[in-house]
């Protein structure tokens, strides 16, 4: 997954004073308060929307959205679990 659009969205929505390049892949978005509980729902819904993941099936687990790295891992594992039934069928 290319994380550039994700970083651009997070920066534009939540930290407009920095550039996407300032946001490290492992920066803790939750502990730092960049993403609070209400913003978390927006972030999840954007990530799912942008990556074609059905929102209903996503557990609201903050750890999956703690950093750009965590989100990338989450998206990639969701893509695999969606792909596998199609591959067998």
């Amino acid at each position: 997954m290319n994380s550039a659009p994700l970083k651009a969205w997070i920066v534009q929505q939540f930290v407009p004073d920095i550039t996407p390049a300032d946001l490290d892949d492992d920066y803790d978005l939750i502990d730092s308060g960049v993403v609070d509980s209400l913003r978390l729902l927006r972030l999840i819904s954007w990530v799912c929307d942008a990556n074609g993941i059905p929102l209903d099936e996503v557990p609201i687990t903050p750890d999956n959205f703690r950093s750009v790295n965590a989100i990338r891992a989450f998206v990639e594992s969701s893509a695999q679990s969606q792909a596998s039934p199609a591959a067998t069928g």
């Binding site: 004073d17 946001l23 920066y27 803790d28 502990d31 730092s32 308060g33 609070d36 729902l41 903050p62």
Partner: protein, 499 residues
């Protein structure tokens, strides 16, 4: 508090509902007895520090402690390890008790604490008649420990269950975390009369659609919360054309409810009586006002004092204010603490007002008394605000920001926020030779020094000198106005861009 009576008389009545989990009184009592066996032996040396996010297991654990008359320090599960250990040491806790994550073999995690034999300032030994030690929500440093006396808790539960008609079978929502004083009414009072507590676990607390589904499915009859919950529920319900007709009592508490939300709340709960409840951890509830369902109020009065409550307003000079005017509310309730666990913290918060025969608590809230006697809240007498129901001191947040070596000046203001009650905005001027400071760096810095609710929602970094009043103090009012104007403009531009 004992469940044994309900467990014997109505063993199959539902005690707890949490998602798909349902526990009857017998199951809850049995689980609580099992957990009691796993507690460390009571040596009488000190309380247990229980760290437990809300769950049926956490309720059973606390009941086990109450049943065995083990004193419990119940801090917020979100505190950092360092603060948690300092709190536990101050209360002289012997063990840290928590519930391990699911999938672990042990039902309880029990860690002995090395209590330092001679702490520098030994606090008074906690009164044995205080089963529960809650903490205030301070934004920096150590939260204050508030011992709740057993007789005071009993009197509070008796008042709450009588006033709101909570009885066997009444279904009460538990929205606040277990460590909030609100849980005395939501959880412990309800279980004391054989009602059913419907638990909202912390990870579900901001999901409007699920919250609405939970209240609907569990046919909840009593809901107490800060305004945020009512806004979340109204958002979900209005979209779906739904209401919550099972709810009989709605308790608004923690902060002022905006008039627009009051009207939505009345529509959301078509059969409910709506109460504005005022209180704090130190005294528990002290005033209640029943809101007219027809609306028309722009601000809610405090209402009438609860039975047994005495109060007065003190002017700036400490003298009692009589007649019309604004003063600090000083109150004594039949439920209140005798003082903080560390008496050194009592300072001037607990005092005997002129002519009173008992110690009262200074709330720090400014209250206006109109000519007709109506009381209304006018804000704080200090720099405290509430963010998501957590008391936060603006000056403490400023001090934390100033700890960063690249920060020269910092001012923090609170802006009204429909969801959180208040949200913090910080304006920071970096030192002249600082490397480029950005909000991410400051946020990481704040996260090391502050609880999450005290981390400013927005941070502005500017090289301009900060606005000052004629006396040289930061001009918070002008900073607030400037930021509000900026946000309004942004919102308008956003609308234009969308339309």
């Amino acid at each position: 508090m004992s469940l044994s009576r309900h467990a014997q008389e109505s063993p199959d009545a539902e005690a707890l509902v949490s998602g798909d989990t349902r526990l009857t009184y017998r199951e809850l009592a049995d689980r609580s007895i099992e957990l009691a066996r796993l507690l460390p032996p009571d040596t009488g040396a000190g309380p247990l520090c229980v760290v437990a996010p809300k769950s049926p297991e956490a309720v059973a654990l606390l009941l086990a402690c109450f049943r065995d008359r083990r004193q419990v320090l119940l801090p917020s599960p979100e505190l950092g390890t360092d603060v948690l250990h300092r709190l536990a040491a101050q209360a002289r806790c012997t063990h840290l008790v928590s519930i391990p994550p699911e999938g672990t073999t042990d039902a309880l995690s029990v860690t002995p604490l090395n209590t330092i034999p001679t702490p520098p300032a030994p606090p008074a030994s906690p009164a044995p008649s205080a089963p529960l030690l809650l903490t205030t929500s301070g934004s920096t440093g150590l939260p204050k420990i508030v011992p709740l006396p057993e007789d005071g808790m009993d009197r509070f539960m008796a008042w709450a269950t009588t006033h709101f008609g909570t009885a066997p079978g009444t279904r009460v929502l538990s929205y606040a975390p277990l460590n909030f004083d609100l849980s005395l009414l939501d959880v412990w009072a309800t279980l004391s009369v054989g009602g059913t507590v419907v638990l909202v676990p912390p990870e579900r607390a901001t999901d409007s659609a699920r919250l609405l589904a939970t209240l609907t499915a569990a046919r909840v009859q009593l809901v107490q919360s800060v305004p945020m919950l009512f806004r979340l529920l109204a958002d979900a319900a209005e979209g779906a054309g739904r209401t919550l007709p099972d709810v009989r009592h709605v308790l608004l508490t923690g902060e002022a409810t905006p008039p627009e939300l009051l009207a939505r709340t009345a529509r959301l709960f078509p059969s409910a009586r709506i109460h504005n409840v005022y209180g704090c951890t130190e005294t528990n509830d002290s005033f209640v006002y029943e809101v007219e369902r027809a609306g028309g109020r722009t601000e809610l009065p405090l209402g009438v004092p609860l039975p047994g409550v005495s109060w007065t307003l003190l002017a700036d000079d400490g003298r009692e204010l009589t007649g019309e005017g604004t003063g600090e509310l000083v109150v004594r309730t039949p439920f209140q603490t005798d003082g903080y666990l560390d008496p050194a913290l009592n300072g001037d918060r607990f005092l005997r007002p002129p002519g009173a025969d008992a110690v009262h608590y200074r709330t720090g809230d400014l209250v206006h008394r109109a000519a007709d006697g109506t009381l209304t809240l006018r804000g704080r007498s200090d720099f405290q605000v509430k963010v998501r129901g957590v008391r936060t001191n603006l000056q403490d947040v400023e001090q934390a920001l100033l700890l960063h070596p690249d920060v020269d000046e910092a001012v923090v203001v609170a802006l009204p926020d429909p969801e959180a009650g208040a949200r913090l905005h910080a304006v920071v001027r970096p030192t002249r030779d600082s490397a480029r400071l950005n909000s991410l760096v400051l946020r990481s810095h704040c996260a090391r020094h502050l609880p999450r609710t005290a981390i400013p929602g927005s941070l502005e970094i500017t090289d301009e000198p900060l606005p000052r009043t004629s006396t040289g103090k930061p001009d918070r009012q002008s900073i607030k106005e400037r930021q509000s104007a900026k946000e309004r403009q942004l919102a308008e531009e956003h609308q234009l861009a969308k339309g």
